[in-house]
């Protein structure tokens, strides 16, 4: 790796003309370039002919994502033969993790963008900029996961975050502005933390590449630079705590979810987090492996506290969306355990869990999205539990779907998340963390209560309305998305095996 730094330095010093194009390995950049081109294309279409319908932009976004998907799969074939690839002055790093997380990001984005095709009109979808921002954001996430260069991670992180802030603010609710500002402020804080952490790491190692940093740390001896590493990991933990909404950095999450549209809230509960997890995995496992034992203890505490406290807060929520916000904090805590454990099995469990989580959470948030009313006079909440009273009697199919999503979130077999849960608990036991495994199990039992609460409202209470409100915002596309999510949640038992195989191979090949 030392040699690669030297080549990096020498290439930087040489005039650009002497750099051969082949050495840039542009294949590593292609997926991101495709998405960026797609975003620019959308803007160009608007320039040529304004006021096109949102269906056009949704479909263009999906097509771009399909091409993106194919490009990533192409890279996946390359690395399966030739091992991890570096490119573009060695700042890009395409390994199994990068491929896997890009695939997850792309698939999740493809599933979420059709949620714009609502029955009712929402003005943010009338702007093509919304879709351009969406694609820019995906490019940002892809950059984040496909590099081990601290600066490029930062650029990716900020690109995606800035796009996301704007998209939240475009929703026409007073609370949306509040949410966007809150998210922006917290995001700025996280960016500051991140920059500080990166700066300290640069100071001790003279490099911004994680691989080199690891090498320099072991050369210098951890005990000599322990204080610096402590500071760096503390800042990094703050930064990722804010991004991944780990307790005690989670306070923005419920408010931001509440202010955003349910579609975007669901998206935020999944895609930014998987990008964050991959970077956290690269960074924290490097630090813990170089001997920052302190970080191990702190990570353990963060995992346990996030898991438990978020569950307890979720118990007392009166709004389903806020409940789901806390629940997604708790789920993030659950998979954060993988980063604490750091074994191959745990890291595979993280990806398996998140893939299964996509389908279930997609379904749950889409169910909220289709019941989004224009104006709610009597209550400040969009989705209070009482709104779902007696849903089974008016819209039985919707109620059963929602119930299955809740059961899956609670970890009732054979629905999707159960398989992620047992594999994660299994990896905790494999790493000899029996206490952690028990805490995970008991938390699943606590969580069952609040998921069950919604089921109780839907199935056992008397209806409060004629049921039209539950599907008020639906369209064929949205119904298909719910159907797809439901299908994937129910038949998880069929595809867990191949997915796990694929995930384990990718994680193992990247050396995590």
């Amino acid at each position: 790796m030392n040699a690669s730094t030297q080549t990096l330095l020498s290439t930087l010093l040489e005039p650009l003309s002497s750099v051969s194009f082949a050495s840039l390995n542009m294949g590593t950049l292609t997926p991101m370039l495709i998405v960026i081109a797609g975003a620019l294309g959308i803007l160009a279409i608007d320039l040529i002919k304004a006021n096109m319908d949102k269906t056009l932009y949704v479909m263009i976004s999906i097509l771009v994502l399909v091409i993106d998907f194919i490009a990533v799969m192409g890279m996946s074939d390359v690395i399966s033969v030739m091992g991890a690839q570096r490119g573009f002055f060695d700042v890009m790093l395409i390994d199994g993790l990068a491929i896997l997380s890009q695939l997850i990001i792309i698939v999740a984005s493809m599933l979420f963008i059709p949620l714009a095709l609502t029955g009712k009109r929402f003005h943010e979808f009338a702007y093509p900029e919304f879709f351009a921002l969406f694609l820019f954001m995906i490019a940002g996430f892809q950059f984040m996961v496909a590099t081990d260069n601290l600066i490029l991670i930062f650029v990716g992180l900020e690109t995606s975050s800035l796009a996301l802030y704007t998209m939240i603010a475009m929703h026409n609710r007073k609370k949306s502005f509040e949410a966007a500002i809150k998210y922006f402020t917290m995001g700025a804080l996280a960016a500051g933390f991140y920059a500080f952490g990166a700066m300290v790491l640069y100071a001790v190692s003279g490099s911004v590449e994680l691989a080199v940093i690891g090498e320099k740390i072991s050369q210098a001896g951890v005990e000599n630079i322990y204080m610096y590493l402590l500071v760096a990991s503390a800042f990094m933990l703050g930064a990722f705590g804010l991004k991944l909404s780990l307790v005690p950095f989670h306070t923005w999450t419920p408010d931001v979810y509440e202010g955003s549209s349910a579609a975007l809230a669901g998206y935020m509960s999944i895609v930014p987090k998987i990008a964050g997890f991959v970077v956290a995995m690269r960074l924290f496992e490097l630090l813990t492996q170089s001997g920052v034992i302190w970080l191990d203890y702190v990570l353990f505490t963060v995992v346990v506290v996030t898991l438990t406290a978020a569950n307890i807060w979720a118990l007392v929520q009166t709004d389903v969306k806020r409940m789901l916000a806390y629940s997604s904090i708790s789920h993030a805590g659950f998979v954060m355990a993988a980063i604490y454990l750091g074994t191959t099995q745990a890291n595979s469990a993280l990806f398996l869990y998140w893939i299964l989580f996509i389908f279930t959470n997609l379904g749950a948030f889409t169910m909220l999205w289709v019941s989004r009313q224009k104006k709610v006079a009597e209550t400040s909440e969009d989705h209070p539990f009482s709104k779902f009273s007696g849903m089974i009697k008016t819209t039985p199919i919707a109620a059963v779907s929602m119930a299955i999503f809740m059961l899956s979130l609670a970890g009732v077999p054979p629905f999707a998340l159960f398989w992620g849960k047992i594999y994660m608990i299994g990896s905790a036991i494999q790493a000899n963390e029996l206490a952690l495994a028990l805490i995970m199990a008991i938390n699943s039992a606590i969580a069952a209560y609040y998921y069950l609460k919604l089921i109780l409202y839907m199935f056992f209470k008397e209806p409060v309305n004629d049921g039209s409100v539950y599907m008020i915002n639906s369209s064929t596309s949205l119904k298909s998305i719910i159907g797809f999510a439901l299908f994937m949640t129910i038949i998880a038992i069929m595809y867990v095996d191949p997915v796990l195989q694929f995930v384990t191979d990718a994680v193992q090949a990247s050396g995590y």
């Binding site: 009732v412 299994g426 095996d497």
Partner: protein, 513 residues
């Protein structure tokens, strides 16, 4: 057909239940009954094709679900599970037959069919995760039955039922994963297959003890053992008749079956270690719930507490750790299923007519409803364990088994059964004998056609197996002997080997280690 009969038994009710959504709601009862009848015949076919001379697992089906994590689709039956499966399909059929007019009957029948799938699944699964899957899934239909068709406090009762069992079984799940991991450290391969687990010996007694406890929490809540029993009276009190019948007849047996299938063979030393504490809890459970039953004014609560009390005898027999005790407890599971199911149905019959379950409202029913009173009387006798009824065989064997272990404890438990006879008879006296004091009772109609059709088969079974239990007891005994021998061989400590007999020792002489 016979190769995949177990898969058929598991998935037929599910598929039929889903198709049931298409059936018109006026015809759904006939549909549900047909499905339950086919299921019952299929389980009887299983019995007739079962090789009685063979004590091991039969009709094995195996396929991989998650190969990297060692989760398999692994089904099989032996003499222990065979009759519990038949009892399950039989009681489901009878419960559907006796179902009275209910709102939203279509949803109820479909839910019962789905529940039947999960119940059969629990008893045929030989992979721990598959077992856990059906075990947990069975909570959902039951939650719906209690919550949607229950009494005024149904929501509280249903959520208490769900959370109690869910919590217990999650701890059991951690235990299961731990064992799979131990298998991994031994062989380099994860496995949740029970047959693979049986090949391991847990030499570290500490580990064995804590694993035993993890499983114990899951099973004890389900049974439910004192002091985890508090969810059950609520669940029974609020559940509709069909819910109580299935809960008492089948769902509770999952816990005791779990002891026999998992705890005993896997952890023989821990079982010996915990033998006396569990026996003490069981005796407390028998006596305490019998006393509580005596104080009840609601006839359904009397039946509910007496059902818990008899579950105590089952656990006591199981933890005698000898052939008589375990065989007796399995037989008692069957008889308890039939008898307590029948008693809950009988309570449902009177509730349909009077819409009250308070005994003070009744009195003199014997003169108004003679057929009803007769059947109630027969079931009552079976419940208290009168000789020549089905209840006697299991109770006698269970106590006999434990008598070999500890005579004083058995005397206590036996006394409790007599107390049981007192409260049941006193409840019977209050409700059925004496003059008709309440004018509302004067013109109650006796059992109608469907109720008779539902209850008379139960009476026949009670009499048949009470007089001649051999066809059922034989295969059970056969498999239990193998189980006890296995425990003896698998035990680590000399103390455990001394306590657990070796019934097949003559056959396997020299193989003892």
């Amino acid at each position: 057909m016979m190769d995949h009969i177990l898969s058929f038994l598991v998935f037929f009710p599910l598929v039929a239940g889903i198709l049931g959504f298409i059936v018109n709601k006026d015809s759904i009862r006939a549909y549900g009954l047909s499905v339950a009848a086919i299921e019952l015949f299929a389980s009887l076919a299983l019995w007739f094709n079962f090789d009685m001379s063979h004590s091991g697992i039969q009709f094995v089906e195996q396929a991989s679900i998650v190969s990297a994590f060692g989760i398999n689709y692994f089904l099989g039956v032996d003499g222990i599970s065979l009759f519990i499966i038949i009892m399950t399909t039989f009681m489901t059929f009878i419960a559907l037959l006796g179902l009275s007019e209910t709102p939203r009957i279509k949803n109820l029948i479909i839910t019962v069919l789905v529940l039947e799938m999960t119940m059969v699944g629990v008893f045929v699964a030989l992979d721990a995760i598959l077992f856990y899957l059906f075990w947990e899934l069975s909570l959902v239909p039951m939650l719906y039955i209690i919550g949607a068709w229950g009494g005024p406090k149904r929501i509280y009762a249903s959520i208490k039922f769900f959370l109690y069992t869910f919590t217990g079984s999650l701890i059991m799940l951690v235990g299961m994963i731990y064992i799979a991991h131990m298998y991994y450290t031994l062989t380099g391969q994860w496995s949740f297959s029970l047959m693979d687990w049986y090949t391991m010996t847990f030499y570290d007694l500490n580990v064995q003890f804590w694993l035993f406890m993890a499983f114990f929490v899951g099973f004890a809540i389900k049974v439910p053992m004192f002091p985890f029993h508090t969810w059950l009276p609520y669940a029974h009190g609020q559940a509709p008749t069909i819910g109580s019948v299935i809960l008492a007849a089948v769902l509770l047996k999952m816990g005791t079956y779990g002891f026999v299938r998992f705890s005993l063979p896997l952890f023989p030393d821990a079982s010996v270690m915990m033998m006396m504490p569990i026996a003490v809890i069981s005796v407390i459970m028998i006596i305490y719930t019998a006393m509580v039953a005596y104080a009840q004014e609601d006839i359904k609560q009397v039946v509910a507490y007496s059902s818990v009390s008899h579950m105590g005898v089952i656990v006591l027999g199981t933890f005698a750790l000898n052939v008589e005790g375990i065989s007796g407890s399995i037989f008692l599971m069957l008889s308890h299923g039939i008898v307590s199911g029948a008693l809950f149905m009988l309570v449902g019959v009177i509730y349909d007519r009077r819409h009250t379950k308070l005994m003070s409202e009744f009195g003199g029913l014997a003169s108004v409803m003679p057929a009803y009173a007769t059947i109630f009387g027969v079931m009552l006798m079976a419940s208290v364990g009168l000789p020549l009824t089905i209840g006697f065989v299991g109770e006698f064997l269970s106590l006999l088994g434990f008598y070999k272990v500890s005579a004083p404890m058995t005397v206590f438990a036996g006394t409790a059964i007599i107390v049981g006879a007192i409260y049941m008879l006193s409840a019977y006296k209050k409700a059925f004998f004496g003059p008709v004091t309440n004018p509302e009772n004067a013109h109650l109609s006796d059992l109608n056609g469907t109720e008779k059709w539902a209850l008379i088969p139960l009476v026949l079974v009670v009499a048949w197996l009470g007089v001649y239990p051999k066809p059922v007891l034989g295969p059970i005994d056969h498999s239990v002997k193998a189980l006890v021998q296995f425990m003896h061989d698998n035990a680590v400590t000399e103390k455990a080997k001394a306590i657990i007999p070796a019934p097949l020792a003559d056959a396997n002489k020299g193989e003892d280690n």
